[in-house]
Subunit: 160 residues, 2 copies
């Protein structure tokens, strides 16, 4: 079974910004049930369908299939839960690892998250200085939950 | 957008049975929400992922992608809602149209449904004599609903 192992952090400051252009991501969910999320994603001219199981620590079963971009667009427009997730993704290299920095828009504007994919859960990583608190285990930051409970609806109440 | 147009009937008698061997289907759902069902299906050595929108009359948006059979099997074993749907499908030719006759097993044992796929909603069809009441618009017979409310749980209370 393909497993995804990743850690997620909040981002502070702008130190990550000057490493290249961001790519717009448009994505939505056909299922936001944590046991079986089904995501439709459109990145430039490519569409993807991604199925993920429940997270166990930082690991999670993940199946991803490329699909025609036109069909991904139709599913986003007509079938997916509302709101959609719109974000810009930046790839930032740091100490031999690639970090994906997602700057959210729309109902999640103001939220910036950095993710790093690992080969093993206990892999040692050197954190960039623009990385803040780890939120790997915080369900509020799952993209699927950012639809039902967008960042702007709770970010003013909590500290981070 | 790809549209699926099909009509569904209950089956009476055995007149459809001698037209060839049935093929076992194993399928489950990642989403049973009527607005966006997501089905995983394993047929012999082929896996499929199918997304359907809400039905408007006999028509419904449908997207189907072939996926590796091993991954379909893993999703059926580990991710899909319970119970799975197990059925044997027979293809029966009648008056120039192909009918798919599904004989259900497990929690839906006793249920036999015949489906015919059409090019247009108003297409004239000649019904075989082993076809009974039409159930196209009856949500109880949607495969997704046969998981949450299997046939054996309600078939004794109603007439058909």
């Amino acid at each position: 079974m393909p497993l995804e192992i990743e850690r997620k952090f909040l981002v502070r400051g702008e130190g990550w910004r000057d490493q290249g252009e961001g790519i717009p991501y448009r994505q939505g969910y056909l299922s936001t049930v944590p046991d079986r999320t089904v995501r439709v994603r459109l990145v430039r001219d490519k569409g993807y369908l991604t199925i993920k199981g429940v997270s166990v620590g930082a690991a999670r079963a993940e199946y991803e299939y490329e699909i025609p971009a036109v069909e991904a667009g139709e599913m986003l427009d007509n079938l997916c839960e509302r709101p959609l997730i719109e974000k810009t993704r930046y790839r930032v290299e740091h100490q031999g690892l690639i970090w994906e920095v997602d700057e959210f828009d729309g109902d999640n504007a103001g939220l910036i998250i950095a993710e790093v994919e690992l080969d093993a859960e206990d892999q040692a990583i050197i954190l960039p200085d623009w990385v803040g608190n780890e939120v790997t285990d915080d369900p509020r930051y799952y993209n699927a939950n950012l639809i039902t409970d967008p960042f702007t609806s709770w970010s003013r109440e909590s500290n981070h």
